[in-house]
Symmetry: C2
Subunit: 482 residues, 2 copies
């Protein structure tokens, strides 16, 4: 049997600010290991397992993240399959239905494994085994939810009530009902009762079955999603869902819209560890701690700290904690969060407060990822800006000019092919070039290693939107991101 993974990768993850920001959300950040959560999810849902194998995934994400997603897949050798671009986030129901329609288009029997790409599942083999256990139910037309064995009275999750406690005999169990996020008393009762599992938001079903259920329980969603898929515009290998029908959709989760109303549901119990990394408290809980319960990451030093998280996200940023208890401190080069561990869910509000104040740190990272590589501002002052620009092998910036700034380029690593007006030349390490205001120019990396260049801009206005694009291999427009 073939299973098509549907990777939901559109979330903006502000609860892990400042390490995760709207412009580069948590699924694309290496939070817990060498790979990002998105990469780990894609690897977990690839290859063969007893009884089935995974097809190339359907990735659903936002326009800003399309190159990040395909690059991160390429880096781990996973075929990107189909990448659907949501015109804007509309929660999980529209995203999953769009993925189902795409899959159905290729195979009327398509089976989908739908999973958020920002969760942690430490034991991939156990997860693939659980997937296999759910397949017989799927064959019989059931829609399968993954129910995680709880290890604490968690009030932040929805729970699933089973008709009986899992006993290891039945591959799947019938669902009695969904339980909304409980209060602490109710959570403790459910933990003790044994027949309650956490709803992980991971689903296994035939594409046809979820669409049929949507037709029955949320018919208003189906037509606009169908239109958005039908009118999707192919764009350099991506499929841009049509914005007009998409805009008509409700912002609603698949649980609320469909699953909670369906009667063909089964639950596959899963007990090998899972976290939604829904806040820094979850990161702290899921990371190895010292004898006092304190977790340190990066250049961080804990002196007599208990049950705390000290995380520095930059090699050049020393973080020191003294005498802390139940405190989380997350340091990045342009933003620092310090909070009581019990207040992890309020980070969202803090980000809103920063946004209201106009602080760029609320949404932006200092490093800006583009299809050709990335750049970061090293210094910004009244009439000049210094940037580090890294261009991947084969990367090509657009042919452009600026009204308000001149640029000096100095190659410090690798080789650049530089176009200035009609002249094309190669710049080796330690060579430099000057681009006067108004002159057409382009930078490429024709080599086999990353090209690193220092750009010094001078002028009265240094905004990213002072750009006239003449040609762009990545099909971006005037004034759009570089």
């Amino acid at each position: 049997m073939l299973i098509t993974p549907v990777l939901l990768a559109g979330g903006s993850g502000t609860r892990l600010w400042p390490a995760s920001r709207k412009a580069y959300p948590k699924q694309f950040v290496p939070l817990t290991g060498e790979n990002t959560l998105f990469q780990a999810s894609a690897l977990r849902l690839s290859g063969e397992a007893p009884g089935y194998r995974f097809a190339a995934p359907v990735v659903v994400t936002g326009s800003d993240f399309r190159f990040i997603a395909t690059e991160q897949l390429a880096a781990i050798g996973v075929d990107p399959g189909t990448v659907l671009i949501e015109p804007e986030g509309r929660n999980t129901a529209p995203a999953i239905l769009a993925a189902a329609l795409c899959a159905l288009d290729q195979d009327p029997q398509a089976v989908l494994l739908v999973a958020p790409s920002d969760h942690v599942v430490p034991d991939a083999a156990a997860f693939r085994d659980a997937t296999g256990r759910g397949l017989e139910a799927v064959r019989q037309g059931q829609m399968v939810l993954f129910g995680v064995a709880p290890n604490r009275p968690e009030t932040g999750y929805g729970w699933l009530e089973l008709t009986s406690a899992p006993d290891g005999e039945m591959p799947v169990l019938p669902l009695r009902r969904f339980v909304e996020k409980p209060d602490a008393t109710r959570a403790a009762q459910m933990l003790a009762a044994g027949n309650y599992l956490w709803n992980a938001g991971i689903f296994l079903f035939r594409a046809a079955d979820i669409l049929a259920a949507a037709e029955t329980h949320a018919p208003d969603l189906v037509a606009p999603v169908r239109a958005a898929v039908k009118q999707a515009r192919p764009d350099l290998g991506f499929f841009r869902l049509a914005p007009e029908p998409w805009a008509r959709l409700r912002d609603i989760s698949i649980d609320y819209a469909v699953m909670e109303k369906a009667d063909n549901l089964a639950v596959v119990p899963y007990g090998a560890g899972w976290s939604d990394l829904g806040g820094w408290d979850a990161i702290w809980r899921d990371s190895p701690a010292d004898a006092q319960g304190t977790v340190t990451t990066g250049p961080a030093t804990a002196l007599d700290c208990r049950n705390s998280l000290l995380r520095s996200d930059s090699p050049g940023l020393e973080l020191v904690g003294i005498g802390l208890e139940d405190i989380m401190a997350i340091a990045t080069p342009d933003a620092v969060l310090v909070a009581h561990m019990s207040r992890a869910q309020e980070v969202k509000q803090a980000v809103e407060a920063l946004k209201a104040r106009g602080a760029p740190q609320a949404v932006q990272f200092p490093r800006d990822y583009r299809p050709w590589g990335w750049f970061e501002t090293l210094a910004l002052a009244d009439r000049f800006q210094v940037k580090r620009i890294v261009v991947k092998p084969g990367g090509t910036l657009s042919l452009q000019s600026h009204f308000h700034r001149a640029e000096h380029w100095i190659v410090v690593s690798g080789t650049a092919r530089v176009t200035i007006d009609d002249e094309v030349r190669l710049l080796a390490e330690n060579q430099s070039v000057y681009i006067p205001l108004g002159v057409k120019h382009r930078m490429e990396n024709p080599g086999k290693v990353p090209m690193v260049l220092i750009e010094v801009q001078t002028g009265a206005y240094l905004g990213e939107d002072d750009i006239i694009r003449f040609e762009d291999v990545y099909a971006r427009g005037q004034g759009a991101k570089g």
Copy 2:
């Protein structure tokens, strides 16, 4: 009457790390207002007051801080007087005796007001008034200590026991005895008793009297200090105390060495506010707080925080606190401290721990101050380094060359005069120049405004010590700091 201020400015203030570091200690940092503590101290001890006027100060500091000290005095229009450079810190006794010998050399009747330059005294007029009240006792050969009216049972200070409580009648009061840093019970008793004041470490005496007292109570100090002063080497307006006799001196405070054994002591009570800023808890206590007792400085946001200090020392660094109580968080671009308020005195140990690990943040700032201006590293990678260099009007870097690196210079503000081999030329804003490896070069600012230059270095070795100096207006040697 003429009073010579003696400003003690050699301290390394690690208790306010990371804002204060050994390479740029707290007296030179604008911690509480626009001026630095050193500047505020110099201003407080300048000009005229009823009954006396201040002479130009004697500043005692370390070699690394000599240009910072004179620049900061110049910036506030205070004549630098005499700047004594200690070969190494030896606590207050040697420093004060050296200053006394210098003052005596010019005036056998010299009266000294000795003050640390890293304290906060909010009411300069009240302080000058208290100084005036001590003068009659000094005329009669007494040595006067400043006793601060306590407002809490502080265990971190030494206290002064008077024969009776100050009543506003007597300009000075007799000292019964010194009390070492007390425990909490003893401190509470002293606070309640009324005839105990804090020892502020501020003294008013004739130079001849403190030297006579030292001859009596600490005779081993006097000869080496005298030799160090006698053999002092004038150097561009500074006096470098001779290292050999200085190395023989005990590291001891004037209190332990002399004052506690002297019998000609009087205390001038001072009640108008004083802080030694001996830790971040003191900064918190002495700063205006919100209704929940939380102090924020710089781009810092407190959400439901109580009795906490949130301080960001950089305009580009957002600091957010959520649900904190009794927590101090101090964020700088390369180091962040988070500690419980009660652990302020342990910051010192934390700095030691960082130093042991070889973290440069333990002692260095990213910005490096030099006699001609300052520079900072914007980016440092395997084979290149990018620096921002700011040269003051009239500033001149040494004529130098490097074995291992080539340099690109781009002027982004002001005008540079650049010497390359035998050629001298002016570079205006937006002009650049290349300095090949091995070639003699020099940079100057001949203009009236600061010159800002971006330097991109490339090469296999980029250490500051790859420098051959041919000429240097600031008389520095080979491989010494830039």
